[in-house]
């Protein structure tokens, strides 16, 4: 085993460990919104570390380019996915966990921009 092999293995294993933590977080957190935190941050960094590890052992530049693209696309899509799931959950009236202290979206404290979403949520709740 060369030094490169060992470093690559460390990256891949760390990435896998982070992904496992993200999965445990999905199970443990109290509501959809907290779960989305777990689904974005450790999961993204975990994948990126696996990609770095795999990139070190890539045989040709073409593979390395593809791996880099996977990382970039993950950076773009993971937050959008979490944003959409969170938005849909809020709109559908999913309960916020007991630890939620402030909900300025429901309070409509700034302008009336968020009122469409908050209104839909209230309608779901009352029906």
């Amino acid at each position: 085993m060369s030094a490169v092999d060992i470093t690559a293995s460390v990256f891949v294993l760390t990435g896998v460990a982070l992904s496992v933590l993200a999965a445990i977080g999905l199970h443990r957190f109290g509501d959809v919104f907290a779960r989305m935190h777990s689904a974005t941050k450790p999961a993204t960094l975990g994948l990126v570390m696996v990609i770095i590890g795999a990139g070190m052992r890539a045989d040709d530049p073409e593979t390395a380019v593809k791996l880099a693209l996977v990382a970039i696309i993950q950076f773009i899509t993971a937050p959008i996915g979490a944003h959409m799931v969170g938005r849909a959950a809020y709109q559908a009236g999913v309960e916020l966990s007991d630890e939620t202290a402030v909900d300025e979206l429901a309070d409509g404290v700034i302008g009336d921009g968020g009122q469409g979403l908050a209104e839909q949520r209230r309608r779901r709740h009352s029906s």
Binding site: P42, F75, P79, R87, E99, V102, D103, E104, I110, G111
Partner: protein, 165 residues
Amino acid sequence: MALSVIALWVALWGDLTWANIASGVAVSLAVLVVSPTGTSGVRIRPLGALRFGLVFLLKLVESTFVVAWEVVTPKNRIREAIVAVPLGDLPDVVVTAAANAVSLTPGTLTLEVVRDPTVMYVHVLHLDSVEGAREAVYAMVDLACGAFGCPVPVRVDTRLAEESP
């Protein structure tokens, strides 16, 4: 813009063939028709973009450990909140970049963005203070502004927000 989408498409297939280029043209046109991008008049500033990228990567590592720690500690001290962050009239690309970056930085997750006026609603995992959370988002938007250039100030009057309990 169409060229960069075609280049991405061909790179993903991995072969520079006429069939890939032709299908890339078709896909990029379809994508750009379905979702027009507001990149007109926006210039990337290399230094600002580099700074945005580096801070973003550091924050991603930090936030990963914050969330990971939250996962492994049995007694959690989570205090969640949804905080409204009013923004100036910023270009789409800045709002998009900032919204994505906010979702990958410690304890914050973009839930909703509305325009006219632009307000970003952010879910916070560990709320210390509403102002503190808002300031963290502003800091990220500032960095995105450094990368793409902003015509107007990022921060807007939050008196309305401060009146609420």
